[in-house]
């Protein structure tokens, strides 16, 4: 195959991987700190996408406004479900939280479909901008905006995690919750911020994805498997790993689609996951984890 389509696939994959690294970061943080794979992540993304559509329909067609409201609303909903469900399950097994998160996923998605139905929606982009074309290598201006927004959000996340007292507390709870509690860290407050951030990133990831694709009720849930695979690829609880895992996943998926067709996405993600879990469960550059 020629080089040009592959280069275009790499560009597309980079954009996709960067924007998906937001929800993937949310999964890995929740996995690391609250210790369960949050199955509602995909549907939080869907919520973000639909909030953006609703904002444009009722308030105004500004894309920026839609992006902001999607992130904020999703963050608030994520906090709501923490306060109601996951806070009460803090001392229970991770399986209990996992099953509850599936319940949350169903509740969120069906609340959306009750009002919006199964129809497809599109976000209004305003003026359609043509792709820059350089010897067949195409770059969409909108993709550049998406990329910059996602990188900006990731930057903020890393500043919060590594340069603020809140981030230090988060990492402390992730490392050893008992020791953190003994050092006077109030884990509930840390959890509250964790869910706020996680919801914000899911909503933002969802709306950015909605700019690139059509908005359907399964938008997020279908990505759950690949996102889990990326989390484990990068090592659970490892934020940089999450971004790298997401990029690897995004780029390899776009390139693979050139050869085998898009319907095998989930199957490929599943096989990668299996191989990883069997041979390198700590991820590409994680240290071995004790409790699997």
């Amino acid at each position: 195959m020629e080089l040009i389509p592959i280069l275009n696939a790499v560009i597309n994959g980079t954009v996709l991987g960067t924007l998906l690294s937001l929800p993937i970061l949310a999964i890995t943080m929740v996995f690391g700190i609250s210790r369960f794979p949050n199955a509602a992540t995909g549907d939080y993304m869907t919520l973000g996408a639909y909030t953006a559509v609703a904002t444009q329909a009722w308030i105004g067609s500004s894309l920026v406004l839609a992006v902001v409201s999607a992130s904020v609303v999703t963050a608030l909903i994520a906090v709501f479900f923490y306060l109601w469900v996951f806070r009460a399950l803090a001392k229970r097994s991770n399986v209990a939280r996992l099953i509850a998160s599936l319940g949350v996923a169903f509740v969120v998605r069906t609340t959306i479909t009750f009002f919006a139905g199964q129809d497809q929606y599109n976000l209004e982009m305003g003026r359609i901008m043509r792709a820059w074309n350089w010897h067949g290598i195409r770059i969409l201006p909108m993709d550049v905006y998406i990329l910059l927004t996602a990188i900006g959000a990731l930057g903020i996340a890393f500043v919060i995690l590594h340069a603020t007292p809140l981030g230090r507390r988060m990492r402390a709870v992730a490392d050893n919750p008992d020791l953190a509690a003994a050092s006077g860290i109030r884990s509930r407050r840390v959890m509250l911020y964790l869910w706020l951030l996680s919801g914000f990133f899911c909503g933002l990831g969802g709306v950015l994805l909605a700019i690139k694709a059509v908005v359907v009720p399964e938008l997020g849930f279908e990505l759950l498997m690949p996102m889990f695979a990326a989390v484990i690829l990068g090592g659970i609880g490892n934020p940089i790993g999450a971004v790298v895992g997401s990029l690897i996943f995004g780029i390899s998926q776009e390139i693979a689609t050139l050869y085998v067709g898009p319907s095998y996405k989930i199957v490929i993600a599943f096989l990668v996951l299996l191989v990883l879990l069997l041979f390198r469960p700590q991820g590409l550059f994680g240290r071995p984890i004790m409790a699997r």
């Binding site: 369960f36 794979p37 469900v85 009460a88 399950l89 229970r92 097994s93 991770n94 399986v95 209990a96 996992l98 099953i99 509850a100 599936l102 319940g103 949350v104 996923a105 169903f106 509740v107 998605r109 069906t110 609340t111 479909t113 009750f114 139905g117 199964q118 759950l224 498997m225 889990f228 695979a229 067709g261 319907s263 095998y264 989930i266 199957v267 993600a269 599943f270 096989l271 996951l273 299996l274 879990l277 069997l278 469960p281 409790a291 699997r292």
Partner: protein, 297 residues
């Protein structure tokens, strides 16, 4: 009316076979299987395809059951190395992968067009009008047999070990037993039951399509075993009746409450399922009839 009741009973009994399998997985062994519908799908399609090739139906169904159990074996290899939440992800991915394969391997399954004209059970043996009744009675007998079998399994030394695996894996290992082998066997046995349920589905409906095997079915079964208590077989049976009763009953709600479309009703139905998952885990983790099940939830 009579034929409607028979149809509902068949639905309940097919789900009950699956629920007994999942109860073995989760209730007794503590395996968090989020991909039960994948086994159901493998059983359905295997039996259907075999029968379409001219294999007698009983033989096709036995073949489907065995093949489904075998399909669970590689998952068992993974399961024995992983904690419960990883197993949940892997099994969910497994069932979705199965569904995607059914969708895209058109040479075998006709993909989204579905598989029509599957031979019906008892076709040509007894009058057409009585086939449904005969299927229901067969299912009843099979469920009875499975009930007896699972009870025996659970009460056997094997059953005591799997319950110990669920409650304290380290202790099992300390006693010189290999938890992995017991997990794998439990996984295969329960998967076989789901495969058998699938075979019945295939030869009852005579039409299969990948949309019948969405993850939602798995969570219907989870609700069924949750409602009754995951490690109480009678509770599982009762939970299945309640769950199917709710799914069927909700169809009539629309006749009383105006202004709700079919799509909205489907949303409401799944919303209730999601809400039930949350509420049961929050307030009644042992199930409505169940006894406290160690560390399981």
């Amino acid at each position: 009316m009579e034929s409607y009741l028979i149809a509902i009973s068949i639905g309940i009994l097919i789900y009950m076979l699956m629920a007994l399998g999942l109860s073995l997985h989760y209730g007794f062994t503590g395996l968090v299987n989020f991909g039960h519908v994948g086994f159901f799908a493998i059983g359905s399609y295997t039996s259907a395809l075999l029968a379409l090739q001219g294999v007698p139906i009983p033989l096709a169904m036995v073949g489907a059951t065995l093949l489904t159990a075998l399909a669970a074996w590689p998952l068992g290899i993974v399961a024995l190395r992983l904690g419960s939440d990883y197993l949940a992800i892997v099994t969910l991915g497994f069932s979705e992968s199965v569904r995607m394969m059914l969708q895209s391997e058109e040479w075998l399954t006709r993909g989204m067009h579905g598989l029509p004209g599957i031979p019906r059970m008892y076709e040509g043996w007894i009058p057409a009008a009585q086939i449904d009744l005969a299927i229901m009675l067969t299912l009843l007998a099979v469920n009875g047999a499975v009930f007896w079998l699972v009870t025996r399994v659970v009460k056997s030394p094997f059953g005591r070990v799997i319950e110990a695996v669920r409650d304290n894996e380290v202790a099992v290992r300390a006693l010189g037993k290999d938890p992995a082998r017991f997990k794998t066997r439990s996984l295969m046995l329960g998967a076989g039951l789901a495969g058998l349920a699938g075979a019945f589905q295939a030869h009852y409906l005579t039409f299969l399509s990948p949309e019948q095997f969405v993850p939602l079915i798995t969570f219907y079964i989870w609700i069924a075993i949750f409602v009754g208590g995951a490690n109480r077989l009678l509770g599982v049976a009762l939970g299945t009746v309640i769950m199917v009763g709710f799914l069927e009953g909700s169809r009539f709600v629309r006749d009383f409450v105006g202004g709700i479309s079919e799509v909205q009703m489907a949303s409401v139905r799944i919303w209730v399922i999601g809400m039930a998952l949350i509420l049961i885990v929050l307030y009644r983790p042992q199930g409505i009839l169940g006894t406290k099940a160690g560390k399981s939830t």
